[in-house]
Structure formats: structure tokens, C-alpha cells
Amino acid sequence: MRLSYPTNIKIIKLPCTGKIDVLYLLKAFENGADGVYVAGCMEGDCHYLTGNLRARKRVEYAKKILDEVGIGGERLAMYNMSAAQGPRFVEVANEMTERIKELGPSPIKRKSTVKGSK
């Protein structure tokens, strides 16, 4: 289909969203991500039965932590889509990019820039 989506989306491949570790999500923000989203199979369609349901729970948990530390849970999201839904992938990529652009750079980066300037 080769549908176009923003270049700021970079994909880290996992065997199943069930492999998503809260640590990966938090580390990504720590390293400087402005936004992260997890793209899993449609609910009920997990190749490994329940991986995407578990992933959703972990994403929800990580969102809470992000809220608590002031990064903001809205920078993290979980989407469900099937491999046959190219247009949906693009829609989500655009939606997430727009959301993050509105939110601006992650507060972690803002802080480190201030430090750097001193």
C-alpha cells in the first residue's frame, strides 16, 4: 500500500505486545521520547491468546506512573489494529504525531536542556 506517514514514527519490533515491559515504556521516555505507542493485534485476535490484553494493562499502569512523575500519561497510548489495516496504521501514526506536537517536547528533555545551558 505504501501509505505515507510521518517520519518521526520509528518502530521497535516485538514478538507480541505481551512482551511489552513497563520498563521499556519508561526507559523510552527517560531516553528522550516525546511519545510512545504500542500497536497490538485486535482484542480477541492475539496470536498468543492474551498478549495484547496484558499489554493494555501494563500500558495503563505506565500511564499512571507517567502522570505521577509529571511527564503525562497522555504521551503514551495503546492501539489495536490488524495486519490488514494499513490505512488504520497511518491514521494512528498521524493522530499520535498530532497529539504529541500539541503537547510539545517531553518535560524530561526541557529540563535537560536547561541544565545543559547552565
Binding site: M1, R2, L3, S4, Y5, T7, K10, I11, I12, K13, L14, P15, C16, G18, K19, I20, D21, L23, Y24, K27, A28, N31, G32, A33, H47, Y48, L49, T50, G51, R54, R58, G86, P87
Partner: protein, 1083 residues
Amino acid sequence: MVNLTIDGRKVEVEEGTTVLKAAEKLGIKIPTLCYFEALTPQGACRLCVVEIVGGARRGLSASCAYVAEEGLEVRTDSKRVIEARKLVIELLLLRCPDVPKLQELAEEIGIDRARYERFKPEEEKCILCGLCVRVCQELMHVGAINFVNRGSSRKVSPPFDEYSSVCVTCGACEVVCPTGAINLDEITKNIPRPIKADFDERLATRPSIYLTFPQAVPKVPVIDRQTCMHFLNDACGACESFCGPKAIKYDQEDEVRELDVGSVILAPGFELTNPSLKDEYGYNRYPNVVTSMEFERILSASGPYQGHIQRPSDQSGPEKVAWIQCVGSRDNSCDKGYCSSVCCMYATKEAIIAKEHSPDIKPTIFYMDIRAHGKGFDQYYERARDDYGVRYIQCQISKIVEKPKSKNLIIAFIDKEGKVVEEEFDLVVLSLGMTPSTSSRELAEKLGIETDSYGFCQTDSLNPVKTSRPGVFVCGSFEAPKDIPETVSQASGSAAFASELISEARGTLICEEEFSPERDISGEEPRIGVFVCHCGINIGGVVDVPAVKEYAKSLPHVAYVDENLYTCSQDTQTKIKEVIKENNLNRVVVASCTPRTHEPLFQKTIREAGLNKYLFEMANIRDQCSWVHMDKKEEATKKAKDLVRMAIAAASYVEPLQEQELSVTKRALVVGGGASGMAAALGLADQGFEVALVEKEKELGGNLRHLHYTLRDDGIQTYMQSLIERVKNHPLILVITDGVIVDFTGFKGNFKTGIMAGPGMAYRQIEHGVTIIATGGEEYKPEEYLYGQDKRVMTQQELEGKIVRDEINLGHVNEVVMIQCVGSRIPERPYCSRLCCSAAIKNALKIKEKNPQSRVFILYRDIRTYGLLEDYYTKARKAGIIFIRYDLEEKPQVKIEKGALQVEVDDPALGERVVLNPQLLVLSSAIVPRENEELATLMKLQRTQEGFFLEAHMKLRPVDLATEGIYLCGLAHSPKPLDESLSQAAAAVSRACTLLAHDTVSVGGMVARVDGEKCAVCLTCVRVCPYDVPFINEEGVAQIDAAKCQGCGSCAAECPGKAIQLQHCEDKQIIAKSIALFKVEAV
């Protein structure tokens, strides 16, 4: 070879290469206008000028025509070159100010304002480069156009400014023109005839060289010799010039090959019924009447309208869409008396997808009976009706009339009140049926196999994949119309029989691959080799590959970097192997297309070079970069660098992994001794494998004991007896009756099952490599319609038994009522039991046969005599059996009036309530699974809500269970008639053989591993694992069996102590990628 220097960089090219091509090899882009790969260069536009600074002829020269010489020194970026190009563009822009291509070039080179006055006021697009003239003359050998006039009047035109009579409307001139100046209409009055794309149902066009369809295997283009200019006029040949790997061979001819085979499987598929057979629907006359296949293409994102639902007449979005079912099915007027089995479901699917795509669409389906007889199909149909608002109207449509102006279509139908109503639709879809193709009829004739009157391959219900000729087998819709799950099952089934015949030769004619031993890399610092791929122009046309290559050199642990035109080509594999050895590389990163298609190839290559195949990482810079960021070249290059950096970071952490080879126990366990179980056991034993067959009851046979005749066969009991005899006497089959499975351990290739059997319930353990579940189903014992309270009320199975045993004197029975869907298609049991419609018709015909004077009524909701069974429905109606439809909301009322049975039902055809007084009331009772919960728990098998076992994939893996090495067949899967159960049993045999045929299974690789030191025995992994693999071992820590682990990583993600790592997807690898992505300087 010739060596030259361009912009200070050395390059070696073949003799005869132009400077332009040499620069391309270095990734240096030189702008061109009049250059075309397949033509001799002309140097007309002068845009490609370069400066020759060292060589025979110094000065500015057109690079497209300058052939590289030894020692040549070229600059493409000198001031003189830039100035010259600026001048060219400026002058061209003066002539053609409105051409976007020139405006772009001007912007790129930095011209903001023209320095000269325009002298030609009228609009002009032609830059007089002559590319069109050359293409017409040199490539197409036509010469329809040329330059005429001189000076400022010079232009491209056919002779004498008249329309060309020789133009062949190939359109090449239009295609090559860099500025869009050519218009075919101005050249000729001949009308171009675009080539219709068959795959898009002729709704779209295609070139002469094309991919037959997107999923074609092999995925290579073909040339249509009927339209290709090369074959028609000995002209063109452009594709040959463009193809980098030189894969185009015009002289390829069809060849006849002879193969020696032991058995043959016929799977020629079907054709759609010709819509012109039903002229009253106006398919060829009305543009907005489309076939279901055309609509399928219209819905497809890769289809003619890019997935936007449009009407062919005016490309507007339709709102009211109607489907007309049974077009060329269930219709004796066009010799298609059978039901095509799939149209009800595909129409429902199309309606749902259309609705999902455009919520404004109001779908209506006109049907005769909704045949949703597959597993889970009825629930899908109900969702379409209740959740998506698909309107189902039961009515045969006799004609369609078009409104001339709007091209809308008027359909007349009879509504629920019995009135004729006319309704207007924007688009009408004809649900076409299946028919055997002409070529498969010819094939049948050549092979000497029998076909039925419709042209389907003749089989019998006890041998559903055997044709009339021994050794020739059949599967799919050539046998009878069928849906995907049955087709796939039957395909595996035919493979079982075909391989049984030649099972003695199994394992011969095989070439084993041999690899040199793996190099031990322990203790070595990572030395990474990076290969960046151009993928022709797929990546190189967007991403600056040389820049990515240069960048990769600067990254840590990188010991070697190269770029390739096609990294996947055979010569590159050889090169990669040499490079690995020469540079002592211990990890490899390929930045190219996608691991989905190419990872195995590169893994094999590095393995051949002595590296463990897991010492490999891939950066996806095509599918996830160049293809999706085509218009953002700079950003795409930046992203490609990011992706390469991430892959290299992860590669530093990848470790070699060993896959373990475990021997396979060449024995099967079959659970269930009914028709399916026995057939599966015999199938496997005839393939030469030992089988243990466990039956819960005292004797074999299962439901088969109650089956005496089918619509097609009478001798079922004889068949059963012979089946039982063969099973009992087969030297390779161990029959365990009265057996209960009490424990189950192991994994594919190595299972252990504990069985208590016999009167003394003695325990024994069976070791086996595969398991086949054939636990069956049974007839539901009704609680409704006075069943059990009155002897005259019985089930179909009971009736059959009574008829055969002469317990009923049918001569004295005047009136029989049968009620369908008893216990099926109700909220508690929402599925269709698939075989009760044919069972009712079978018994009704039997009654009619014995007593033609009797009156038989069948009260039904939808008659589901799918496929070739439809003929028996027709036969039943001809025999005078009366069918009365009822709704779920208004079920028939059954009571006893003065000692007589009384059935009351509303007859929608008469519009009246009918009262019947039958002597026999026969209930077509549901099929329910046998008690299987305990087995499901023991073996950890998934079941549907109704208690049938759940296959790994409804359509594509219909007999595999989610756990590898366990297969499924018969009623344990879903209700189905005997022939389909037998077909499925053969399919399970075939699938089981794919494992049993191997001496070893390979386990491990990307599986989870526990670090016992860190394990706190919290049992999280035990709870999380969807397959119940982790357990606490004798040492008191969690253990994960590599052979059972499916590699999802859920346990690793939730282990609080991080004691579990998923190999090859370890935390440090994933986190390294994330660090590399964001912290450019950290790497």
C-alpha cells in the same frame, strides 16, 4: 573495467559506461530532462552538464553521452557546472514558465527570478528535447512524430500538421515527456485501448508487463505477449533496459516437462457463474449492476478505486446497496441446480465491510434461505443483521429496471405483508455462484475421471477425496462448492491419501543441506558488518544510501560497511560470505527491505559463513522508511540512519543461540473411536505409523452406530463393520476401549499420556509424537415439543433407527411433521447444526418412498442443503414434501388434542395459521459436543463457547489446535455430515504426518529462559503463560521447557525479578535500540 574520479571519489565501472551512470553508482545525482534509460543518449537538454577537469577533452560536457575513460576526472559540483545548469534552466523556464518540473529544478538550483525577458507569449510546455520523437522512432519503430519548422516556430508534430495515421496509440511519447507537453489526442484520431486488468475484474487497467495479482507466487511480473510492443512490432524493449538484475528474457518459450509421479491431486478451483445467464438483471446493460467479485475489488484498498466505494457509472458513493443472492445458483433454469455454499456469507461480509467503510451505506440482501451453516457463521450473520443493520429480505427478485437519468436501479419485491413493493437502489451486487471451469472439465476428460452433470468431480460420500480413477485425488470446489475451511481441510485430506500411496518412498529423493561448523565467537568484541541495500531504486531512489553507509562507518563496533544494488541477489550472498571471513566479522546487520520476507535468507547466508544465524539484525529501511516517506527524501535519509544505528546497537548484544534437536516418537494417539477417529487411525497406520486409539465406550463406532443411510449411500452399517474390522486387525493399531485419559504431559514429538482402561481400570502410559482429537458430538435430547412425554415425538436419529428396524409401519402413517432447528440457532445454542436439514430431507424422502400417499411437512427457518445437497431439496419438493417457514419468534405450537398430536404454525406463503395432526412428530435436534471439559483441561486445549474444540485458525488451519502436535477432526470440531468428517480425519492424518515424517524436531531459539539464581518463586510466570508452560522444578525454581514455549515473551515482561529473558529479544537488546534511537551522541 575503467577507473575514473568524480567529485574526488574514485569509482570503477564497466567499459562503455557513461559518466552519468558512473555518478549514479556513487550516489551522485545529476539532473536530467532528455535522458531515458532505454534510449541512446542525445545530450539535447544540456542539463546534465559536468566539468571534465582531467582527461582528453577538458571543459563542459553532457554526462549522459560522455563515455567514461580511464583516469578521467569529473566535477559535478563546480561553479562552472552550476552556472551552466542555471543558465539552461533559466532559458527553459523562459520558454515554458508554467511547467512544474522546471519550477522545481529552478528552486533546487537557486533561481528565484529570471534575468531575461520572455519572447514567446503563448503558453508552451514543450522544451524541444526530442525525447518523444526518439522514443517513437528508435524504440517503437513507428515514427509518427518529428520536429517541424525552424527557429522559433520549431515544434513536435505529425507530418503536415495532420493527425497521424500511423500512430499505434502506444502512449510512449506521453509517458516519457518530462514536461507533460504531449497529448495523444493532438497526434492521432486513433483511440487508445487501455488493457483491462483481469484481477481487478476489468474495472482498472494495467500495463503489458505486470504482476498478475498482488499475492502471486512467485511474485514476478509477466509480459502479456498479446499487447506488448516488443512482441507485436519487435519494438520497445524498455523493460529489458530498465531491469537492473537483467531478469527479462524475451526469448523464453513455453516448455513441456514430463514428471514421474505416484499420485495426483486435482485442485483446479472454480469459475464464477456467468452473470449473463440471468439477463433479467441487466448486468451488461446497467453500469451500476456489478458482480460480487467486482464489488470485492471495489472494496479492496489495492482495487480500482483505492478502497473507496464508488459506483461505476459516475464514481459517486452509493448509499443504498442491494445484494441479490443465488444468481446462477439453486436455479435449474440455467442448469445450476446446486447451492454455491459461500455466497450468503460473502454477501454478508461485503455488506459489513461496506458499512464499516462508509457508515452511510444501507445494505439490503435479497435471499432465498440464509445459509450460514459454517462454524461461527450464524453468529456472524446475526451480528450483521442486529449490530450493523444489514437488512435481509427473503424474496426472489425477478428483474431489475434502470432509471435512465440517475442510473439508479429499481427492484420489485414482496414484503412481509405479501405486497409487491418497488425500491430504488444506487448499486446492485449480484452474488454469483461457483461453477467448474471449462479447463477443469477438459482436465477431467484428459485424466479420464468422471464428473457429475454439473461438471463437478465425482466422488462418493465415504471417499470424499477419491476420484473415479485410482491414484487421482481431488480437493476444493472442483469436488463441490465449499468455503475456505472445508477446502483447506480437504486439501490436507487429499494430501494424506496421495502420500499414503507413495509412503514407502518417504524420505528418499531428499538432498540434505550441510553446513560447516559454527565459529565460536565467545569472548570476542563485537565486529559488525553492515550492508546497506539500494533495492534497485526502491530504497536508493528516496534514501541517500551512500550517506547512510558513510554514517554507519562512524558507529561503534562497526568493522565493515558496504552498499549493494540488491543485497538479496545471489552474487551478493557470495560477497557477504567472503566479507565475513576476510574481516573476521561476528555479527551482521542488513539495512534493506523487511525481515518478514528476507531475514531467513540472510540468516542462511551468515550460517554458511560459519556464524550462528542469530548473530543477525535487520534495519527495515524500505517498508518502514523509503516506501512510506517517498516525498520526504531528507527526512527519510535521517530516519534510515536512525534505524541503522538502532539495529547496530541491538546487534552488539545479540548472542548465538542453539536450537536443540529432539527425537520424534513415531507413534500417534487418537482420542475417540467414532468414524473420524477410526478413519484417522487407519490413515496413519496405512502411512506406516503406529497408532494407539482410545475409545471411552466399550465398543468402537460412535455415532456411526446410529447412522444407516445418508442421502447418497445406503450401506453405512456395512461400511462401519468393515472400518471396525480393519482397525482391529491392523498390525500397527492398538485399540483401547473403555479407556479414560487421566494425565497428559510433553510437547510436539514427545507426548506421554496416561490411560485407565478396561474393567479393572488398569493404568498404562502411551508415548506418542502427535495427538488427534476426535471425541465427537452427539444428538441433543430435546426438552421442547413434548419430547419424552409422548412416544409419537422423536428425534431424526431415533426415527431413522425405527424405520430401519421396522418398528414403525410407515404404510399406516398418513401425516408426519418435522420441526427443524430444535436446540440450534437459539440464544442458548446460537450455532447451526449443519446436518439436520439434510437429515430431515433424507428421512422425509424415505417415508415418501415407503408410503407415497403420506403427507410430510417440514417446518423450517432456513433450509440449508448447501452444495450438491440442494438437488435433494429439489427432489423432496418434487416428491410432494411440504416446507413451511417459521420464525424464531413464532415457533410452532405442539399440543395433544383429544389424544392426537396437534401442531400449529403460521404459514407465511398462505398468510394463514395451519393446523396439522401428525401421527409422528420428528424433531431435527441439534448436535452438541460430547463431554470434553476434562480432556480440554488436561491437554490445555481451547474450546468455543459451545464446547467444541477451537482450531488454531478458523480458515487457514482448520485441523490444527493452538498447541503444536495436536490435531482435530470430526464433530469435536463442529457439527458436520459423515463425508466432511472423513475428509477432516484425513486432513488430521496429513497434518500429523508432517511431524511424524521427521526423525527430530528442532526446539529452542527464540524462547524464554529462567535464571534460577534470580527466581523468587512468585509464580507470576506460571499464572501469566497462556500455554501453562512454566513450572516449579525439583530445585524449587521456575523452569520453562524450550520445546513447549511459544516465544511470546509475556512471562519475561511480567517477571518482577527479571529472572526470565526471552532469548534474542532480551531486555538489553530492546533497551539498546531505544537508547540508540534517542541519544544520538551516546552511541
